[in-house]
Symmetry: C2
Subunit: 362 residues, 2 copies
């Protein structure tokens, strides 16, 4: 099975991708050499995979903490619970935290590991497609604040990522589709050929074909790895990975975290980014329709909730990609090539927002 390497000098690490990796103690031992280990997971994932993971880590001093499941628990308070567990287990600086779950568990665990004694190792064991292709890779950790998503966090690279494709068999179909939104994102932002491939293999991916999943996860991670290696701390190029996210965060925030899945919000956000890219002459309308068709084929939403233009703008302005008061957006120069830009006519953005978020409060 193919591996992906993230090249970040002293913070480099490998991503293992394949079916059944969790049941292979040698894979776990290579990723988690520490003696003291705290596994962080949630109430949904624990009954499915915690015992398998614990068996694979037998011989270590092992603790675990089981958090409630859901984006609404991705808070500083929940991170404090993980920190409490680290203190209670008396973990030292050479200990390791293992995040077993989706993006919320990975972000929370990584942030707690970043803060505990100013930074201990952690390993990502993502059990959702979204986490396997996106959140487990690249070192962004954090929690939400009532004022905005991921406003509190740290850059903290994992020691290793183990993407066990077998865990996707227990994933609710809606979450699988949300993960495919991020897969589509990589094609749209960086690789037209991969975009073609996704269009051709949408059916296989939705049916959990192992070869198709392995290829989708591997190629997604490769693209992310390349971008992260070039710009670890998001000064410029890394912001490309946020295609669809500024619009998407506005949706998630307006509706309350957890109402829409992150990938669903990103799907609609990418459609808005395509729409705006069309209005400024970068894409044809046919390109926008191709994006809409792909998202529809993947079973993803393509209609934004009617939160109103003013509210959308307000929430977008809170997004981290605002520099000196300007909303910088990831737009599509063409399908397969994204750019970060604050250089678009304000009325083009207004038109995109009006067409998708409706006129209420506008």
């Amino acid at each position: 099975m193919p591996d992906v390497h993230i090249d970040l000098g002293p913070r480099s690490y490998d991503i293992r991708i394949g079916p059944g990796l969790l049941a292979q103690p040698a894979v776990l031992e290579a990723a988690v050499p520490a003696r003291d280990v705290l596994v962080v997971t949630n109430a949904t994932v624990a009954p499915l995979y915690l015992e398998t993971l614990q068996r694979g880590l037998a011989g270590k001093r092992l603790g675990s903490v089981i958090l409630p499941d859901g984006e609404q628990f991705k808070t500083l308070e929940t991170a404090a619970r993980v920190l409490d567990a680290m203190v209670a287990q008396r973990l030292n600086r050479d200990a390791c935290a293992v995040a077993l779950g989706g993006g919320v568990i990975g972000d929370l665990t990584g942030f707690a590991a970043a803060c505990y004694q100013r930074g201990i190792d952690f390993v990502q064991v993502p059990t959702t497609l979204l986490a396997q292709v996106d959140s487990s890779v690249g070192g962004k950790t954090g929690v939400n604040h009532p004022g905005g998503k991921n406003l509190i966090g740290a850059f903290h690279q994992p020691r290793a990522v183990i993407a066990d494709l077998a865990t996707l068999r227990t994933l609710p179909p809606r979450e699988l589709r949300a993960g495919l939104a991020e897969v589509a994102k990589y094609g749209l932002l960086a690789d037209a050929e991969f975009l073609d491939w996704i269009e051709q293999h949408a059916h296989d991916l939705l049916n959990l074909d192992t070869d198709a999943l392995a290829q989708a996860v591997r190629r997604s991670c490769e693209i992310k790895a390349r971008i992260v290696a070039a710009d670890e701390r998001e000064h410029d190029q890394r912001a490309l990975l946020n295609l669809g996210h500024t619009f998407g965060h506005a949706i998630e925030n307006a509706l309350g975290y957890g109402e829409w899945l992150h990938g669903e919000a990103v799907a609609v956000g990418m459609l808005l980014a395509a729409d705006l890219s069309c209005r400024i002459g970068w894409l044809d309308r046919a390109d926008v329709e191709r994006v809409r068709a792909l998202l529809t084929r993947l079973g993803l939403p393509v209609a934004a909730p009617p939160i109103g233009v003013a509210r959308a703008l307000d929430l977008m302005a809170m997004d981290k990609k605002v520099l000196a008061g300007r909303i910088r957006l990831v737009l599509l120069r063409r399908l397969g090539e994204a750019v970060v830009s604050g250089d678009y006519p304000a009325d083009a953005l207004q038109a995109t927002l009006g067409a998708h978020f409706g006129g209420r409060n506008a």
Copy 2:
């Protein structure tokens, strides 16, 4: 007035040292070029210096948050209040936090700045001697946990440090003395000549002689700068700065944070480190008495509270300097040269603890 430069590549910064710096807008503007600024201070310092600082920062979009004063408020909950203020002010990534106060304010503000949007700039304006010579320099930020001091934190270097010696005129004498403990620490761990100088100038320092203070702060920062530049993330050499701290943390933790001042606990801790260094043959008993005499001359405690050997050991084992179960201590090879070592006979440590912490629970 002399400056000290901390050489950390892209994270390098300057320390400005002198009387009346806060009243010099040019000094502030050089340190804080950002447009959006949040000043974090406490209820004791705010009436004394907040207005002066605000005047010096006139023209910026300025917010402030005034926290209660005291080590007992150096918690994740208080850091969350600072983060709330950052969100409420809608600070972007190019904003800057300014810590106006002692070590608690500096550590808290630095940690909040490290976490907000995964890291924004912050500037230290230390108003205690302890903060000027120690906590404001070097990028260690964090908060306490009921299970131990500074268990939650981040390495996050300030953008600049402004040590206004005039602020020391309003410092309670007890806190001045606690700060002098850390000054003595630098002499003990790295500079026998500076140790001589401190002995000769103890009276001037206690009487707030500006030239003596400037020399003490400058030399302390120089020593700290050299050590931090060699080992930013405390893998080895930086631990030297913790001379007296593992013993001291045990005292602070046993009595409850805030009962003893940090510098007072470190003073006794240094005496214990000297005592242990003597028991393993590195120091003469006369050296230990010289340490005791200097601390006494500086008005610092030299008697540990009778918390018992077992409790002391337990609390020391929770200290971060434990690697793989061994308590590593900073010991004195001679006066003016410290080393980090876990390689001492257990009964020598027992004897030191027994002689100072008493036999209760032992």
